[in-house]
Amino acid sequence: MSEQELLSLADDELVLGWRESEWTGIAPVLEEDVAFSSIAQNEIGHARAVYQLLVGADGDADALAFDRRLAEYRCAPLVELHLLDWAHTIARRWLYETADEIRLAALKDDADPAVAGLAAKIDREEAYHRMHAEMWHERLRDEQRFREAVAELWPYALGMLPEELRGELVERVGLAAVEPVARGTHTDELAPLWDEMTMVRRSAPAGAQW
């Protein structure tokens, strides 16, 4: 596993966690608000663990997470989208978890035991997220709005994975392969998010301790 691929995973989890935390306080029902916020927090926790692995035990994970320029972020366009309705949000959640499971399965076989171990640890927590996502998918799969949202996000979901893993996602999701919106470019929606996400660190005087 290359550093760039690990960074992609961490950036995906950070940005998705950030996006999903935008539902805190305004999710459709109180119970889901708690569950969704908890999932968002977990994703950011996974990002932190991967950043820490990348910078080493004594390195500064926050610096890697927040001190890069916009163009240096490796997150997939799927996680950047500012989704304002629940059908799209759940469609992305389900597509993301399905793709993430495939990615983590490959990572668990990584030659580097530190990478494989962390992937296994993350996957044990993702099991709860998959349970949550599958439950919503089961509930909404025949609803027109949900199906449209899945179809709209499908090229983005496909683009989240490297080419060699896309076939498995096609099989699992059951939609035809399309031209993916691949990683490596950013949507216009990342810039305002980056601005918000890094604002506090950028405004702090050099050497500030947290």
């Binding site: 119970e31 889901e32 708690v34 999932i39 089961e138 509930r139």
Partner: protein, 92 residues
């Protein structure tokens, strides 16, 4: 349609389940996922019971027309008798 599910949680194996609160959910699957997040994800429970509120039989009428207070725990003062017994046994 949503139902209220009462949530009981067990803190450690072998301990009794105690009422923790409730979740409002459209079915038992949603109730499980939501209850896991609210009552189990921070290591505070080893097991949960989810009970639809409709399945609970509510009992709150208690007849005690003849004031048989010796049948109640507050009807029998053990303190004085215990003191007496201890004095008799010389262990007071």
């Amino acid at each position: 349609m949503s139902d209220v599910f009462e949530v009981f949680r067990q803190e450690r194996r072998g301990q009794p389940f105690e009422h923790a609160g409730s979740v409002v959910a459209p079915d038992a699957d949603f109730a499980e996922v939501w209850a896991r997040e609210q009552y189990g994800r921070r290591g505070e429970s080893v097991a949960l019971w989810l009970v639809p509120r409709g399945a609970i039989r509510d009992v709150e009428e208690w007849a005690d027309e003849f004031d048989l207070k010796y049948r109640r725990v507050d009807g029998y003062s053990i303190k004085a008798r215990l003191k007496e017994a201890r004095e008799r046994a010389g262990t007071a």
